[in-house]
Structures are given as structure tokens and as C-alpha cells.
Amino acid sequence: MLIEDIKNLLNANFLSGEENAILKVNGAFGSDLMSDVLAFVDDKILLLTGLTNLQVVRTAEMLDINVIVFVRGKIPPQEVIDMAQEMGISLLTTSHSLYTSCGILYSNGLKGITIGGAE
């Protein structure tokens, strides 16, 4: 799914990296726990989270994730946006909850990642 389509489906706004709008993601992962993002993600995915600290962008950097959606209307501090901008990571913000955001994207064909044993 294109980042542009994610933005439209979630009624989201870009905070950084609007130039990535035509890039694609292969799936999505929603979590407020960066430990689990680091442990489970192994593909170019979209990260949905309600956490807005620097470590969210750092985690994305380590995993080559280039788009993050902040849910529940969260907007990170300016230093976080600046860091993402510098790294070419797109940040989006939506007023939907994590559950609703995931549901909208899933029902439009964006699947989750596979976790050992589970689907």
C-alpha cells in the first residue's frame, strides 16, 4: 500500500517526509512497545503507535522503517519531527485510535506481519 493511500484512508496529516508519499509498505505493525517492534518486525512496514518520543524514530531508523503513524491525535515534540525529517522518515498523525486505524488499513488490504506460530 502507498503511504499516500494510508494518509487518505486514515484522514491523516503529514508531520514530515511528505516526499515519501509514493513509497510502498509491505505490511503494518501497531504497538506502543518499541521492544516488541525491535523483536518482531523484519520487513519494510508501517509502524502505528501512540508513543511519541525520540526512541520511536530511533527504532524506525534501526529497522529501516520509513513511515510512522501516530494514533489518537498524538503529535510528537518538534525535536522528534526534526530528527525524522533529517532521516527521511515520514511521520503522519491521525485522530483515530490504534484499533480503528489498524482496522481501516487491514480491511483495505494492508496485512500484519507474521509472528512465529501465529498468523
Binding site: L33, S35, A39, L54, Q55, V56, M62
Partner: protein, 145 residues
């Protein structure tokens, strides 16, 4: 912050400060950039990035501070994360998925799931951990190229 040593490969060294949440990840970010510039294979970069970042966060949140050393050799990347204490009492327990002594503050930042050490082991081709109470913990990881 890195220093070049011809023939033996490249050595990178980073000081990691206790409780420095604002800068946590800078070392791993620097390491990743160097590996990219060297044209290292992307899957090895990814494994190294995960291993160094988990190690870096552990030094920030669990230790008195320490260092991360990376040796980039023709056939492998060696990562050494060394801190100045307090050490890990029961390494087998610490290695279990889900075991964590992280504070609430750390959990609010999105860490403390007890996944870091198992993830470091999974991300590396060789993994060694040594710890002495009162002295410190050393984790050594090798990623083959």
C-alpha cells in the same frame, strides 16, 4: 567518533551514558551510517543495528554507563558492549523472554518487555554474555559477513 586502523579493519568506539534517554541510539545510528558507507550487505547492517541498539538501550537503562566497541573486519562484525555495573545476578533468567527489571519510567518510553537480550542473541551469529556483580556486564556479538 570512530578511528581507522588499516589492515586489522575499522574500530568504532562510543561512550554510553547512564539514563541519557535523549541520546540513546546515537551510537547505533553512527555505527549504522559507517556500515552503510562501507557498502556492507544490508541484512548484516540490519542485524548489527538491532544488536547495537538493544545493547545501547540496556546500558542506558540498566547500567552505570559503559561503552560500545565495534570492529569491522573483512569477514565479520564484532560488537562488544561493556558497562561498569551493577552486573546481572542470574544470566539465565535475564536471557528469558519477558524477564525485565525495568522501571516504570523506562516502560513508559516503550522499553522493558524483556525482549532485548533474546533479540540480541537472535540477531547475531555468535553471542556471549559475562557478568560480575559489582563489576559489570560484557556482551560480545559476532555477525558474519
Amino acid at each position: 567518533m570512530g578511528s581507522n586502523e588499516k589492515n586489522t579493519g575499522i574500530k568504532l568506539e562510543y561512550e554510553i551514558l547512564k539514563d541519557d534517554f535523549a541520546r540513546a541510539g546515537e551510537a547505533s545510528s553512527g555505527i549504522k551510517k559507517v556500515l552503510r558507507q562501507l557498502g556492507i550487505d544490508s541484512s548484516a547492517i540490519r542485524k548489527t543495528a538491532i544488536a547495537t541498539y538493544e545493547a545501547e538501550i540496556n546500558i542506558v537503562i540498566h547500567s552505570e554507563g559503559g561503552k560500545i566497541l565495534v570492529y569491522i573486519k573483512p569477514d565479520k562484525i564484532e560488537i562488544i558492549a561493556k558497562d561498569n555495573g551493577p552486573g546481572i545476578k542470574d544470566i539465565d533468567l535475564a536471557m528469558q523472554k519477558g524477564f525485565s527489571t525495568a522501571s516504570n519510567r523506562v516502560r513508559e518510553l516503550g522499553f522493558g518487555a524483556g525482549m532485548g537480550l533474546p533479540n540480541m542473541k537472535k540477531s547475531s551469529d555468535e553471542f556471549y554474555i559475562e557478568s560480575e556483580m559489582g563489576k559489570g556486564t560484557t556482551v560480545k556479538m559476532i555477525i558474519t559477513l
